[in-house]
Amino acid sequence: MKEENRGGVFKWFDFRNYSLERFLYTMHRISGIGLVIWIVIHTIQNAFPRLFPFMYGWEYTILLLILSFHAANGVRLLITELGFLLGKTYRPVYPYKMGVIYGTQKKFTVVILLIFFIIFLVMFYYLMLNMRVIT
């Protein structure tokens, strides 16, 4: 009913007008669901090894992206949801550009994204090694 006026599930994926943290929330949800699907696939692959023989391939790149993103963002959520690295409290004075999306937490987020990139590169290197693309 339109009267109810709730955003619905579409609002989980609509990060257009907001800051970086909203985009990271959406990506964390999507990567979480992706990893649950991967658990199902991996279990079936290991339960019937003759029907699904294991081979290194390019599709593992997506898995590596999802895994390293969820791990890196998860570490960021773990630290901030325990109350650390969020920034100080202060007397709010206009123009208010000192909150949690501007200060210490934002710098920490940038560091976490760098860590995500580095972990992805390391895993990608070993994938390339095992696919015999490089030796």
């Binding site: 006026n5 709730r6 007008n17 929330y25 959520l77 325990l82 109350g83 920034g87 709010p92 949690v100």
Partner: protein, 262 residues
Amino acid sequence: MEERWILFKVFRYNPKVDKFPHWDGFKVKVDRGTTVLDALLRIKEEDPTLAVRYSCRQSICGSCGMMINGKPRLACYTRVLSLGTDMVEVAPLKNFRIIKDLVVDFSDFFKKERSIYPFIIRSDAEEMMNPTGAYKQTEEELLKYLEFADCIECGCCYAACPTTATDPLYLGPQALNKAYRFIMDNRDEGAKLRLSVVDSDHGCWRCHFAASCSNVCPKGVDPAKAIQFLKGVIMREKTVGFKKEGTTLIKMSCLKEDQRSE
């Protein structure tokens, strides 16, 4: 003075009469200082059936929250030309029930705020009933919660939050922010009571730090920070215990003649 004609697309819906909502277009001449509220009042001169809630028109009462170009803002605080578009879309605040056109129902919102006991709770009842003095707080103790006390209850954070979009039972960033403000105030002794309300199925743990609430707050209150600090307080209480320093009472008789209120 630079003047332009801007097209306003206004959401119209009367649940008692209409089956579906529709959008009405109005062309309004705006200049540098025209706010969206000014434009809506000029539209009201053309079409008096438009329902708009407003009061102070200086962003202190929190009445005129609405979705302006897809983001929840205060209408009196948003200048039309600062939006940068030729067409401005005005819709009622999301995640609230619509009463008519741009007016929404805040009763659920205030019920959730009342459920976390938004007042100071102390155990010395005699002092509460017949006060004899003032409670002293240092600057550091004040800074722990002062930022979160600036809330004007406009509902913009509640409209921006992705969790309230699907979960009508979620307390919402405003109620959780207020709960943290009272827990950290060292004049208050009711932390346990509030923590049991906040630490529930639809309490602070349904927040996933999307920080959209802090992004849209017109007063710089930062509810996202308050909620993460609140989670930290709950975790600290479970592991090492959470203790607050109390305040000291300065009796009236200690105050100088010109400082007494009676």
